[in-house]
Subunit: 370 residues, 2 copies
């Protein structure tokens, strides 16, 4: 995933405390799934002692924010099955920074790795998308993923009056919901094939919760509406053209709790028939670490300066791609720089109620025993 907040090492290398704030949100979300991981391992069936215990982290980015979770998973599995080898399979798209991943996990960065504390543990990486089969059938014991599966496999259409499906309506919203439904079904069916009988998934994903809250929309200013208003202002002022305004559509969809759980509870669904069952589900909010810091230090300029790069890390490539290819590359980059400066100005001048609280659904899913 291109989200800087999941790429721990780039910021860890700065070594000045910036790291802990930038990755704190992502790591808090992951760390809070550790009890679910431990619980899931306790529910797994025994397998032959020579068979590796296979764990996957899907959408791992550089693996830095999940080091502690993986360490706990290894410790728990080893305690239960002292004889079984343990395979850890990190997965992300082919353009992910796997070089950083391997350097982090093999202890070549300042981040403390788990690898030299553990015997008979095998770390592997895959660049196969979670929309495809990553592992051979029935070889996965426990699959984990955090904050990755909101990225759709394709953009079903542009959204004519917003930059994100959270602001879509009518046929456009329906197209995104349908794409989200199909993609989720594909993800689950591929995992159903990979999982051993009785295997588990612990999946942590952005959700639209029962109160209608979602990432950056938890009672304060709606982050996605701010993105949209600024982009629309650029169109009104002639900085960008109408087509460029419309083309800026993030290929993401935040499913509701019902959309997440239905394929796992509807006995007629393909996913249910493939053996996947919902074992546990809850939604949680993890507060924006930048807004929390701001409440402590009260410096609006600092808040704006530190907060915007996180928003930029996972939106910039889509904004850039929305601009006309007829513009020279430098001109495109200039517009995008100006755009994030405008967002930063807005926050600095009026910092209250900005922030990007995370709203996640935490699900444990079981593959039926043969």
């Amino acid at each position: 995933m291109a989200d800087q907040s999941k790429h721990a090492v780039n910021v860890a290398m700065r070594g000045d405390g910036y790291y802990s704030t930038v990755t704190k949100g992502a790591k808090d979300v992951i760390d809070s799934a550790i009890p679910l991981i431990i619980d899931a391992i306790s529910r797994l069936p025994d397998r032959a002692p020579a068979l590796p215990f296979t764990f996957s982290d899907m959408g791992c980015a550089d693996g830095g924010t999940s080091l502690d979770l993986v360490r706990q998973a290894i410790g728990t599995a080893r305690a239960r099955w002292p004889e079984r080898p343990i395979s850890v399979v990190y997965t992300d798209q082919p353009r992910n920074d796997f070089n950083s991943l391997f350097r982090i996990v093999h202890g070549l960065t300042p981040l403390p790795s788990y690898l030299d504390q553990a015997e008979d543990v095998y770390v592997l990486a895959s660049a196969t998308s979670f929309y495809r089969r990553i592992l051979p059938a029935a070889t996965l014991d426990l699959g984990f993923s955090a904050t990755a599966m909101h990225w759709l496999s394709r953009k079903p259409c542009d959204i004519s009056d917003h930059i994100h499906a959270v602001g879509a309506s009518g046929a456009e919203l329906a197209a995104f919901a349908e794409q989200g439904r199909r993609d989720w079904e594909t993800i689950l069916l591929q995992r159903a094939s990979e999982l051993a009988p009785g295997g588990r998934l612990v999946l942590v994903n952005f959700v639209k919760d029962e109160a209608g809250r979602y990432l950056g929309n938890t009672g304060g200013i709606n982050m996605f509406d701010t993105f949209n208003e600024l982009w629309r202002r650029f169109a009104a002022e002639g900085v960008i053209g109408t087509e460029e305004y419309v083309r800026m559509t993030l290929p993401q969809y935040y499913k509701t709790v019902d959309e997440f759980t239905r394929p796992l509870t509807d006995t007629g669904s393909a996913v249910y028939r493939a053996g996947l069952r919902l074992e546990q589900s809850e939604t949680r909010i993890v507060p924006c670490p930048f807004a929390a810091e701001f409440r402590r230090h009260g410096d609006a300029a600092r808040f704006a300066r530190e907060y915007i790069p996180t928003l930029r890390s996972w939106t910039e490539s889509t904004f850039l791609g929305a601009l006309s290819p007829d513009r020279p590359a430098e001109e495109r980059q200039g517009i995008i720089d100006r755009y994030y400066r405008a967002y930063e100005d807005l926050v600095r001048e009026n910092p209250a109620n900005h922030g990007m609280d995370c709203v996640h659904i935490y699900m444990t899913i079981a593959k039926a025993d043969a």
Copy 2:
């Protein structure tokens, strides 16, 4: 491995034919192992139809030069076991360029990949050194490695009057031979543990052959002696100090045929007792593609210009590391630039008999059936 000639994509991207010459030597060596791979697969025992056929390429660099070999391995295994999933595990050290590896194998570069032609094939990567266990016990069906295992796990001592063990003598030669022996034993014992009963290794490595020939020493000018004479000249001229001359010692050892085969035929050795048996062994010479091109075009300046970067790709970091850390980084780089220019001048002015023919041993090794 840091050898540029094994890093196909860096040069493939230039797209001007340079690629084919630079990688031709490495790819010729690998391609000539394809019949051994096909033969090894035909000798493997059957395993349960649901068990993946697991293949590893150890010391894969960016995987570009072994694409055709892996394609043939997949095709052969699939023809024999249509039902078995296939796992391909690429391995190299943590500082290898795994990003290029995944982009090549997933078809994001101009090199044609095998991946979209094959169903039920799983590509994984590992950054675990071949001096350790890369895979869980008894899970590897066929391990392959080309031109990687001459790199020792450590440098046993400096060589006082040469830059490579091929020019060592006395106690220094003995120390390198002993390190080579131990490292080879470690590599084989780790593989003995990974291999399934009846599994095979096809290992292609630099060798000192029965006639005393080795890389860059096949009857013409001895490449390693040239390296050494130029470096000694730098010392004599005061460009470098005596300690810097001595410290330049490549952590490599080219074993003899006997040193390669003895642990596999000596019934008292740890490797033999671990179940590894020599099935086939032969040495082969693959001619230097740059010298071959020179015989065709006759342009000495072009030969020198094209040939030296290959030598540089696998020696530069060791030369740089030999220079005193008291020198500023720029000064160190300047000396090294001057060094390779001196080598280039030498070849341009007197091109005859320069070249880096490859001398390899090709071995097939079997793990005894349970």
